[in-house]
Symmetry: C2
Subunit: 419 residues, 2 copies
């Protein structure tokens, strides 16, 4: 087969290591010029394909591409944009194929979560039926760690490490001040449906008195009375209490706790603040002085303290995606297969896209302890290797020296679409 171009796009919420996957894709493609001429990256993800807004990665130096490995965020732009079903919006899928055809694109590497794998799968099917077969390979990515089949998802190990470090550090701060100041500290983490990120804070506990003292997971409906008792016990026993709460925690009647939250200065209901809601609950019931932190994007952008394991896997999965394509595979996603936890051994596997499309993997019940306020040793054994190792970015003038792409665009060949 003559060499074709490739299209690479980032999708959904970005992570500290999604660019490491991009680096893996582009460097591996560059090593196979006999099969892949140029990797075009979608400006703002899949929108770049719909609007024929393609970034010519050939214009980026080898140094810039290498630096993507240590750069957080989505260097080419990502998008929260889900293509509808084929029946509902066939025009969008057909447009993708047209753009691919116009730019002689034979490979589509889609770097995202379950939604994106679904899209890649459909593009693969449609290309076939439209007489323009295209090799579609998924590259997994999500801080939420909620993809099935793969042992873990790039992005998660780094946010897990960030969360455990934040818990340990803030815990030391609170412990030193608790005698005369803050007694309860609440750290809000991401995780709308799965508690993986909050669970990772448990790695910070070496001794029973160490934080976190309570972990609130979306998988466990909040029993407020038992929660209050747990906080009180911790303060009485250790002098303070560190609570790590997932943004997706729900009440017994299935409502998000954050949605019961506060009204802002203008009288609007303020969503997304589960930490202040929990804090107010503690203040009202127990009267303890509290502080809370909402790490928000800081947690998933924290490349300065990324997990070396996570970076390595993110790169390896990008590389594997290209290799799978060149080996003739289609409509698959490379995965992480765990061989053992201690010592940690893993290799790259693969799975058909349809097995991961639109499926959310929650924490298994065996990973949540009987109290519902902490994780089990099995969970810790699973999590520990994922945060192992440091992979510091280079620094300049005291700050991480992150890549900056030129972002040169490929000349358009088609009329505008749907604008």
């Amino acid at each position: 087969m003559a060499a074709k171009n490739a299209f690479y796009a980032q999708s959904g919420g970005v992570t500290a290591v999604i660019n490491a996957s991009a680096c893996g894709v582009i460097e591996t493609a560059r090593a196979h010029p006999e099969h892949i001429r140029t990797v075009y990256a979608g400006a703002n993800g899949i929108l770049g394909a719909l609007h024929e807004d393609l970034i010519d990665t050939a214009a980026e130096s080898a140094q810039t591409i290498a630096a993507l490995r240590h750069t957080p965020g989505g260097a080419f732009g990502s998008a929260r944009y889900k293509l509808k079903g084929l029946d509902e919006n066939r025009a969008e899928y057909e447009r993708l194929i047209e753009v691919f055809r116009a730019h002689d694109i034979g490979y589509f590497f889609y770097n995202g979560g379950g939604d994106s794998q679904d899209t890649a799968h459909k593009v693969s099917q449609l290309g076939e039926s439209m007489g323009y077969p295209i090799t579609c390979i998924g590259v997994p990515k999500t801080v939420d760690n909620d993809l099935p089949i793969t042992d873990t998802c790039p992005g998660f190990g780094s946010v897990a490490k960030y969360t455990a470090i934040a818990t340990r550090e803030a815990g030391l701060d609170v412990a030193s001040m608790a005698k005369t100041s803050t007694k309860v500290f609440i750290l809000e983490t991401m995780g709308r449906h799965a508690g993986w990120i909050a669970a990772a804070s448990a790695l910070a506990k070496d001794q029973p008195s160490d934080p976190p003292h309570v972990v609130l997971l979306p998988e466990v409906p909040l029993d407020q009375a038992r929660f209050m008792a747990q906080v009180k016990t911790s303060v009485e026993q250790f002098g303070y209490c560190v609570v790590v709460v997932s943004e997706g925690v729900k009440t017994a009647d299935g409502q998000f706790l954050a949605d019961q939250g506060s009204k802002d200065a203008f009288g609007h209901v303020q969503l997304g603040g589960v930490a202040p809601t929990v804090a107010a609950m503690i203040k009202a019931e127990l009267g303890y002085k509290y502080h809370y932190a909402i790490a928000d994007y800081l947690q998933r952008a924290a490349r300065h303290v990324a997990s070396a394991t996570d970076v390595e896997q993110a790169y390896a999965l990008g590389k594997a995606a290209v290799e799978l394509a060149l080996d003739g595979h289609n409509a698959v996603m490379p995965t992480i297969v765990r061989e053992s936890s201690a010592p940690y051994r893993w290799h790259i596997g693969q799975t058909p896209l349809e097995t991961v499309a639109n499926i959310e993997a929650k924490m298994p019940p065996a990973f949540i302890d009987e109290s519902g306020f902490f994780v089990t040793p099995a969970c810790l054994e699973y999590l520990r290797p994922l945060i192992a190792g440091e992979d510091y970015p280079p620094y300049r003038d005291g700050l991480p020296d992150y890549a900056r792409i030129r972002g040169e665009r490929v000349a358009r060949r088609l009329p505008a679409f749907g604008d």
Copy 2:
């Protein structure tokens, strides 16, 4: 003079490097056994002296003391406890002197901000008048960078570095998503009265389009209309806007913006959330989708990304405090004296405690630009060397391996006080 014991106490909000000062004090004292027998550390700061709750640092290994250099929080416990004036509460000061006398303590090293330097100064005066002269030396500490005379305060350089890194990293995240998702990101920093921490975020900007796009300082009363215009311009010009806001920002009528903030689920006014207040303002006026982060204690505990300059100065000031005492000085505080910014050169100076007691140093007007929404080149020149260099802690199992003290107590010799 026969060797005496020393008393060391941590005071007020802790930092990423206050233990590095403790390390400097204790290691330097250990090097001079002919003058200082043992350093007793106050359990929970000055409360340890009032309640004769003294930690025997001689029971800590050299390794543990060395590890304090890379451990955040206050290893011996700190306290928000301000001794009242001598006239109002002479009994407390007299108790301190009694405890010092009972344990043959001839040196008092007080590691804190302006309040603490005031206390150290008064103890020095009272000891003299009570016939128990004690050498009182301050060790500066405050993330707020608001002590006068000294060029900077240990703790600030590291929180400045954290804030600039967080701004750069979250900025990359938001920039990649802005096309279809969050347009405005707000980072709330500490700084109730002085804007130094928020100002440090400006170090993240290398190019005009880089974040932060707006910095809100307590020194500049918020002009809401001009602020909204600034946010709108940034979104229109760059596609997104990163706002860094100091918790101490005030409205034109002098009220804390945070105090206008939200009511919690139980109807209580929720203080301390300036980020949600700013976010709600933007949503109401401009309609942009927003996210915000409140780093809270994470910022001042972030030893994992401390400034090497800050760590070095924190240690040097602890060491200098002991050396000043041994050189016969009293009622002084060692300071950082800047010789030049580029290349950065500094040495240790000293100043009488009364010159720093209870005085807050705000940002000078020349450091705030005409718009009031950013800092000047002079400010950046001042800040840049303070975040220079990385000083990573050792890691174990993917997490920073922080010191854990034994905390062995010294036997009490006096009746209880005031319990």
